[in-house]
């Protein structure tokens, strides 16, 4: 019982630091590696302009397609080699990581806001509004999102703004579904009834009593959706439909580097490995958070 009220934030919260510490203690070795990796990637993305040895677009035509350190013909200063225009792969990967993570974060937040709001409103109000929203959710679940993304990117062109909008729409239906379900469940709870009897307004009930209790499943969904958005963005950029050159994201580096694979495999291997690092770290963390949030699994 104490556990439940702690998670719902109704009892005094533990300080952020001790919370983080107890989270760290509950993680196993693999999860700790994932946490460290995630923070390292995040730091690298934020600090990209400071730590990148070159600009992402700086060309050095004399050292085109030079291999990474340790190989023959390695050129000093280009640690992970260069691409077909002599641009430093390490710097481009760092900037690509920065853009990929920013896009994914922005996209996840927009999706959370849209879906969360629609779910909250349809759960609280019900009626025709709920029917329409849930009909749209069903339709969205049934249609592969990649197809919709293709349609919109083709029509509105592939600018950063359009990309953010497309990624922002992704996943709204999951948030809406989850929030609506939780809200309907909570609405029947005695403490909500008590708040209503005490004269709390609808707004107050929604923000103070319902929302804090929905946070935990939303966090889990957020990590899931974040890794899916990284995937979606990389895939679209890989296909040449996402962020346009010369700007690099990890996906577009792999996509445009394909032509040089036989002679200069590092052009695709480095960004591809970076994508794997991101998806591995996010997935392990998401899985861990989901297990923690699921009381049934914790008992096992």
């Amino acid at each position: 019982m104490a556990d439940i009220s702690l998670r719902s934030g109704l009892v005094d919260k533990p300080s952020l630091l001790s919370g983080a510490l107890s989270l760290w203690r509950s993680a196993d070795a693999v999860q700790r590696v994932a946490i460290v990796t995630a923070f390292a990637l995040l730091a690298a993305a934020i600090a990209a302009p400071l730590i990148a040895p070159h600009g992402p677009l700086d060309q050095s035509l004399l050292s085109r397609l030079s291999p990474p350190i340790g190989f023959e013909r390695y050129r000093d200063g280009f640690l992970l080699g260069t691409d077909e225009l002599g641009r430093d792969i390490l710097s481009r990967t760092l900037y690509g990581l920065r853009l990929t993570l920013s896009l994914a974060l922005l996209g996840s937040i927009i999706g959370l806001l849209i879906g969360g709001l629609l779910g909250l409103l349809s759960g609280l109000r019900g009626g025709l509004f709920e029917d329409i929203v849930m009909g749209a959710v069903d339709a969205q679940i049934a249609i592969p999102f990649t197809l919709i993304a293709l349609l919109f990117l083709a029509i509105f062109g592939s600018s950063l703004t359009v990309m953010v909008c497309v990624l922002g729409v992704y996943g709204w239906e999951q948030y809406a579904r989850i929030v609506r379900g939780e809200v309907k469940k909570l609405k029947a709870m005695p403490f909500v009834e008590a708040a209503r009897a005490a004269g709390a307004s609808n707004f107050r009930i929604a923000t103070r009593h319902v929302l804090p209790n929905v946070v935990s499943p939303l966090v889990v969904q957020f990590t899931l959706s974040f890794s899916n958005i990284v995937l979606l963005e990389s895939t679209l950029s890989f296909l040449g439909l996402g962020v346009q050159p010369p700007t690099a994201t990890l996906g577009s580096m792999v996509g445009f580097g394909r032509d040089y694979m036989p002679t200069a495999p590092w052009v695709v291997i480095v960004p591809a490995l970076a994508i794997l690092l991101v998806t591995f770290a996010v997935q392990i963390l998401g899985d861990w958070l989901r297990d923690r949030a699921d009381v049934r699994l914790r008992a096992r």
């Binding site: 749209a136 069903d138 349609l151 990389s234 890989f238 291997i269 591809a272």
Partner: protein
Amino acid sequence: MLKYMTRAGLKIVITFLAIVTLAFAATRLSGDPINYIAGQGLTQADRDLLVTYYGLDRSILEQYLAFMGSFFDGEFGLSFVERRPVSVVIAERIWPSLQLLLASTALTLALAIPLGIVAAVWRKSWVGSAVMTLAFLFYAVPNFVLAVFMILVFSYWLNWLPVVGNGTWAHFLMPTIAMSGLLIAGLTRFTRNAMLDVLGQDFIRTARAKGLAETEVILRHGLRNASITILSVIGLQVASLAAAGSVVVESIFAWPGIGELLVRSAIQRDYPVLQFGVIAVSIAVLIINAVVDLAYTWADPRIRLGEA
């Protein structure tokens, strides 16, 4: 059952209307479609002719109704790029896509279900953890990354497999694996969990207690009961994941299927093909979902008899 089917049917109709409306609205939102159809230096007379031909001078409502009407007479217009009817362009892509889809579904089922059972039954030994770790890792590998690494190793370094085309069985290997990687990983994890749920139930203990052989317990009592949950996830996940996967995988391997066509039309802004291609794939996904839905509804007496 009847009520269930009516609701399922209604859902399909709503989804169909949603995707058609979305496709229609998207192309109309993007400004004057004539700009895409016609090149530079068109005379005003030619322009007017095109406007009339495509019905762009009519009201939005009329255009929408005409757009809907095209699903009944099969007149989807001409591809901007290929100057051939859209229906023909799409139709000739169906079989290669279907081949790849069938191959990867077969591979997924053949690997994921046995692996999932193994992981559930030996969940405490290293075999189970090994399977689950692999499944977990592969679930985080985007299919284009898998494809790129396979091409590097098997085509460029070892020179074993061809990169593009769909001529021989060797051409099938990499695209099939690239497309099923995620599906196998996901379905293995799901099968394991479904099996664990079932194997923890009382009737399994009863089956063991009455002296059935362990294989019999696992396959006849375990798998059979887990299969309903597994079927439902195959329908929901596999169809849409495969649709998304085929877009990527077909483009990488230049596979002459619908996915490759969609990406190419998106890049070349061939709107008629893209529009109806997206609608066609969505309908295919809807139909697969509906069939699977019906299949497991029929297989589960609790749903069939309207108790759940």
